[in-house]
């Protein structure tokens, strides 16, 4: 039986028989989408890690000064806070970022040695530190980066601390963090008597009162007891603190740049690919193909290129994130978990960009007079 040529078969043969050009086009699209996947994935994973940091510790309310970054609250307010009837635990904490080595910086947390926030950590070796002692615990990612183990010492800002525990945190940020006794971090940061804020765990809501209502009542009671401070639900705090806002801005900025780069890259690749085929377009027009049919053929090819290029790009972006996740400079903030929405978004962008970018040169080519198109070199 003789070989049958279909419309889609024709499109497929055009791609398959020009393997080198198809491969180069796919590489162009793949690189553009890969950059988009990696940059956006990087920003979003930072944001997600930050959100998880709040939610994994079991904190219901964060009590802070008005400005989180510069929040500085007297630790002495702890007693007033603990006397608020709805509060089960109210633990002071300091949050900071510090250079551990010239190449590595890390989040620093100062906690009391009986803080409930230890509940979210799993110790792989050693255990908690003791208040008043120059002891620290390290997240396992950071310990690996620094090549440290329990019993080793670490110099921070001119002071020496003994590592008494290595833990796995609920988030990448924690796993790349240093946690030390509150008093030690106060001393190290020259913040004696001051804390960043208090993390509060509430008593269970009374029967008949909704969780939302109870949370709002607790907020009001805390703010009445400590005028001038903000009591914010942890979820709000996680979503709205300045680090997350910054992460959002980074995500938006990098996404826009990556997207623009991607679309321009795809547009260029597709435009060149269609432009080179002007004579073929002329042949099809000369043998009776209508302009829309030629356009459809090129768009089917563009869609296939966009889809396959998008898949390659996702693979390339994921590999880049995986590489970043192994580098000490970025390991604590990069996760290789790409959310499905981001993947669908990337694939959609690849296909749409291919279609849009291919549309103009294809339209132009298909609307040239066949003679003009045939004369094209």
């Amino acid at each position: 039986m003789p070989s049958q040529l279909s419309f889609t078969g024709f499109a497929w043969k055009n791609l398959w028989r020009r393997r080198l050009r198809t491969l180069l086009t796919l590489c162009g699209i793949g690189m553009a989408i890969g950059a988009f996947v990696a940059l956006v994935g990087f920003s979003r994973s930072f944001e997600n890690e930050w959100l998880k940091l709040y939610s994994s510790s079991g904190t219901d309310i964060a009590v802070v000064d008005k400005n989180f970054m510069n929040s500085s609250v007297n630790q002495s307010k702890q007693e007033t806070l603990r006397a608020v009837p709805v509060i089960d635990r109210a633990d002071p904490m300091i949050f900071n970022i510090m250079d551990i080595t010239p190449d590595v910086n890390a989040l620093m947390f100062g906690w009391l040695d009986d803080s409930y926030e230890f509940d979210s950590l799993t110790f792989s070796s050693g255990g908690r530190f003791h208040n008043g002692k120059p002891e620290i615990i390290l997240g396992d990612t950071l310990a690996k980066t620094l090549n440290k183990k329990v019993g080793d010492q670490l110099d921070l800002q001119g002071s020496t601390y003994t590592i008494v525990g290595i833990f796995h945190g609920g988030t990448g940020l924690e796993s790349g963090a240093v946690i030390m006794p509150l008093d030690q971090l106060q001393q190290l940061s020259s913040l004696q008597g001051k804390v960043t804020g208090f993390h509060v765990r509430l008593k269970p809501a009374p029967a008949g009162e909704s969780a939302d209502h109870y949370l709002k009542r607790a907020q009001a009671e805390i703010e009445t007891a400590l005028p001038g401070l903000n009591a914010q639900p942890a979820a709000d705090r996680a979503a709205n603190n300045q680090f997350v806002t910054l992460a959002h801005a980074i995500a938006w900025g990098t996404s826009s740049i990556a997207l623009m780069m991607g679309i321009l890259g795809i547009a260029n690749t597709m435009a060149m690919s269609v432009f080179e085929r002007t004579r073929e377009i002329g042949i099809l027009r000369a043998i009776g193909w209508k302009a829309w049919r030629v356009l459809m053929l090129i768009q089917v090819e563009a869609m296939v290129l966009g889809f396959v290029g998008g898949i390659l790009g996702i693979g390339f972006g994921w590999a880049t994130l995986k590489l970043l996740a192994t580098l000490p400079q970025t390991a604590s903030v990069v996760s290789t978990n790409l959310d499905a929405l981001h993947l669908v978004e990337s694939l959609g962008i690849a296909v749409l960009s291919g279609l849009i970018a291919g549309a103009y040169p294809a339209w132009r080519g298909s609307h040239l007079s066949p003679v003009e198109a045939l004369r094209h070199d």
Binding site: P2, I287, L374
Partner: protein
């Protein structure tokens, strides 16, 4: 009794904003089933005339009528090229990504003929061209003569009533030239098609029952 199939009325075609005049008022009539050769020196306007007759291009002024209907107005050019015209070019213009049999099926995609009859017809046309053993070759695997025979099969794919050939032997040696001309005249006789050949070769032009000479965009004789 004559049966005018194509009529050309005072046809003009200029390029480069009127600076180059390829055709300067050509008028002629071609009857159905006629075999016509158009000859002239390079740049005389013979190919331009063929392109306008085939609806590949539009005139600057004047009209081309197919069966008394004006091309581009009463007759849609895409449909005219798909259903009525078969083109053969000097440079063959086969699609390099497709095998011979697929190349012949491409025009049939434009008229939505069903897949199995497309393939059967393409195979039968290639057999008619003596290419039974070359059905699955790509153009770059074929000789120049074979490529032109595939191009002829492609031109016949949609059963056109007019065959237009622009220097069909221009890229061929004498043996293949003779073979191609034998095929074209055979088709014209067997199918009763109109055959219009543009050529600069006197032997070919003089062999045609009607010979139109073009010089500087005008019909000389």
């Amino acid at each position: 009794m004559t049966n005018p199939q194509l009529e050309v009325r005072n046809l003009r075609k200029s390029y480069d904003e009127g600076r180059i005049e390829a055709l300067r008022g050509v008028s002629l009539t071609i009857n159905a089933g006629e075999y016509v050769a158009i000859s002239g020196a390079s740049g005389s306007g013979k190919s331009t005339l063929l392109h306008l007759l085939g609806g590949l291009d539009v005139a600057t002024s004047g009209e081309v009528l197919f069966e008394n209907a004006i091309l581009g107005t009463a007759v849609n050019l895409d449909e005219y090229r798909a259903n009525r015209i078969g083109f053969i070019f000097q440079a063959f213009y086969l699609l390099p990504t497709l095998r011979a049999i697929d190349n012949v099926q491409v025009p049939m995609l434009a008229i939505n003929e069903n897949a199995s009859s497309r393939a059967d017809r393409a195979e039968s046309l290639l057999r008619e061209m003596g290419l039974d053993h070359r059905l699955n070759q790509y153009p770059n695997e074929l000789s120049a003569g074979e490529r032109q025979r595939v191009a002829i099969a492609r031109a016949l794919a949609n059963n056109p009533t007019i065959l237009l050939a622009d220097e069909p032997t221009g890229n061929l040696d004498s043996v293949n030239s003779a073979r191609i001309m034998e095929i074209l005249t055979g088709i014209q006789e067997k199918r009763g098609m109109t055959l219009i050949i543009v050529t600069h070769e006197n032997d070919i032009a003089n062999a045609a029952p009607r010979h139109i000479r073009i010089r500087d965009g005008r019909i000389e004789s």
